[in-house]
């Protein structure tokens, strides 16, 4: 099971980083979503992998349980990344409607601004 979890985290992260480097709004949003999935699974694994164990101590002397803290952390991380993705979609949409371009980097912008300045000077 370790190899499946580890490789899925790896594949998700690699895909996320690749999409992030595309520097266009839609791939970047997808890339950040993939990265947040990867980090959620990673946080789960940080409490050691266990199957079919309850996240609470059993009062009947059965000492086997899984660490509940990473589950709480993952829950927080999911909520935050969900909200952040929504904000990102809205700002990305706003930027696209304002600038008519879905480029994330500002390079062409700067050139345009300079050209305009030189034109007016």
């Amino acid at each position: 099971m370790e190899i499946i979890v580890a490789s899925s985290i790896g594949v998700l992260t690699a895909g996320g980083v690749y999409l992030l480097l595309r520097l266009r709004t839609f791939p970047v949003i997808l890339g950040l979503a993939l990265l947040s999935y990867a980090v959620n699974v990673f946080l789960f694994a940080s409490g050691r992998l266990a199957t079919n164990l309850p996240p609470v101590l059993s009062p009947y002397g059965d000492a086997s349980y899984t660490d509940p803290l990473p589950q709480a952390l993952v829950l927080t991380a999911i909520v935050i990344s969900f909200g952040m993705t929504a904000v990102l979609v809205m700002i990305g949409l706003g930027a696209f409607l304002e600038a008519d371009s879905d480029q994330i980097d500002m390079e062409p912008e700067e050139n345009g601004a300079d050209a305009a300045n030189e034109g007016s000077a």
Binding site: A45, S46, I80, L88, I91, M106, E109, N117
Partner: protein, 515 residues
């Protein structure tokens, strides 16, 4: 002892009230926001007084004992940072209201209060996961403030800023997962207890977590190689927001100080030499980038943004030494550079709104050209580190604190040459903006009554409320220089307390007293 949580609770309660109840009435929102910020300043003063005796106050939420429950910790350092935040916030808020920036978009005051909540929380928390949560709170508010009043460039810069910080947040979570997997705790005091117990040869995972956390904080602190987002974001943000963001880079520096001193600092065999080794060269390069950026900038706002990058480099050079004297110097410089950067952004806003843009080219002088020139001059010498303002003393303290043979050459030459380049950059910008503009009035008047000269005569006079925040920030800088003795004595105690790891651990992990 519920005072400790008030800097978080007060803005958190005020923000929704402003956002929902007062959204149609800007006057009411302004009154509530100013009242809240003044109250926050009063609370911060009280907390600073409380922390001044040197005890580490711990606030346990729900009275759960420390490694299991969430704690807020108030020591001299966090009290100082909260005080710095609230003083800066008040100055920025007066500027935003008197220039009307807050009315150019929706929900400025609600977002402003949420931003203060996140910043104060990040300074007060004693739990590294809560540090992440407060980072997210302050970031999501800053996303809204960053694109306040909209516009093409601002939206695109805002998008870039959001993407950069979301990637940073993901990295933060990876670091926290690694740290939890190798130590089993996320409480800073508990970590400070467990990390030193890990022998050097088994510390591989913790070392990875150390560096990952440092990269995350470096993104916030605009440290090379992750400084590239700052000039675009700060120069396109609304000016009062950029001035408030002067404290955001310091959140990163604070987090490095807190986490990499208390948890991974001296005394942890696996990680103690790691942070300084990587931080120092990165900070040197950051100074160089800031200085060249100031020299090469063709617009005023990027010029100031690059000077912020340079000042963060100077600050982190001092932090990277991880000694008490260097930390004292770093803290003094941190207080100074926060107000200096904010002051520059505010005065630049007054100038830029009276010109056609922030391009560094001669234009007809605005009314009160002399006043603006004098204020810009004062702020610029503060930022560049010239006497008599506190920048000089701050840089002197930093230079004086770095005496290690391997570091002294790099640090001294980087800071001194960087300061020289910054002075040249600011001198050039100031002379183009304020002096050359007076020279071109005469030939332009020959061309007849152009629109420009009419516009320059009609450019509005700065009101007292618009100049007061700049004056206030300059007064703080002057005060820092005049009272440098008492201030650095207080900061000496602060850094001594920061390096007193055992005292911190004992205060936080001590059993809960029955009430």
């Amino acid at each position: 002892m519920h005072w400790i949580i008030l800097p978080v609770v007060l803005p958190a309660l005020l923000a929704p009230v402003i956002g929902f109840v007062m959204r149609h009435d800007i006057t009411l929102a302004r009154i509530a926001s100013v009242a809240g910020t003044v109250l926050l300043l009063a609370i911060a003063l009280g907390l600073a007084y409380m922390a001044a005796d040197g005890t580490t106050h711990v606030y346990r939420l729900g009275n759960w004992p420390a490694p299991f429950g969430i704690v807020l910790v108030l020591d001299r350092l966090s009290a100082l940072m909260v005080l710095l935040t609230s003083a800066l916030a008040l100055i920025v808020l007066i500027h935003a209201i008197s220039t009307g920036w807050d009315a150019r978009g929706r929900h400025f005051h609600a977002l402003f209060q949420f931003q203060l909540m996140g910043i104060c929380g990040a300074f007060l928390t004693g739990d590294i996961f809560n540090l992440f949560v407060f980072f997210e709170v302050l970031l999501i508010a800053s996303y809204g403030l960053m694109i306040h009043s909209g516009g093409k460039d601002r939206m695109r810069a805002g998008l870039q800023y959001v993407v950069m910080n979301l990637a940073g947040s993901t990295l933060f979570l990876f670091a926290l997962g690694t740290l939890y997997a190798s130590t089993g705790t996320l409480n800073i005091a508990d970590l400070a207890l467990r990390v030193p117990e890990i022998p050097a040869e088994e510390a591989a995972l913790v070392r990875v977590a150390t560096i990952l956390l440092m990269i995350v904080f470096a993104v916030k602190a605009a440290l090379f190689p992750v400084q590239f987002w700052l000039p675009a974001s700060y120069s396109n943000a609304p000016a009062p927001v950029a001035a408030l963001f002067a404290i955001m880079t310091k959140v990163g520096a604070y987090a490095i100080l807190r986490v990499h001193t208390t948890v991974f600092g001296p005394g942890s065999p696996g990680t103690e030499d790691l942070a300084g080794t990587w931080l120092f060269p990165a900070a040197i390069v950051t100074i160089a980038i800031g200085a060249f950026g100031v020299l090469g900038a063709r617009r005023l706002m990027p010029l100031i943004a690059f000077s912020v990058v340079g000042s963060m480099g100077t600050l982190l050079v001092a932090v990277a030494v991880f000694s008490t004297t260097a930390t004292t110097a770093a803290l003094y410089y941190m207080v100074h550079s926060t107000f200096a950067a904010a002051c520059l952004f505010l005065i630049a806003d007054l100038v830029v709104t009276r010109r056609s843009g922030d391009a560094l080219q001669p234009e007809l002088p605005t009314r009160q050209n002399g006043l603006f020139a004098a204020l810009f001059f004062a702020a610029a010498i503060a930022m560049a580190g010239m006497p008599p303002l506190s920048g000089f003393l701050g840089k002197l303290l930093v230079l004086d604190a770095i005496r290690e043979p391997g570091l002294i050459g790099w640090a001294w030459s980087a800071i001194l040459i960087g300061s020289l380049l910054t002075i040249i950059g600011f001198a050039r910008a100031g002379s183009v903006l304020f002096w050359k503009s007076t020279a071109i009035t005469v030939p332009d008047a020959e061309d007849g009554e152009t629109e420009d000269s009419a516009a320059s005569i009609q450019s509005p006079l700065a009101t007292v409320g618009q100049v007061a925040p700049v004056m206030l920030a300059l007064a703080v800088l002057g005060g820092l220089a005049i009272f440098a003795g008492p201030v650095s004595a207080y900061l000496d105690n602060t850094s001594a307390q920061l390096f007193d790891r055992a005292g911190y651990v004992e205060a936080v992990l001590s059993p809960v007293e029955e009430r």
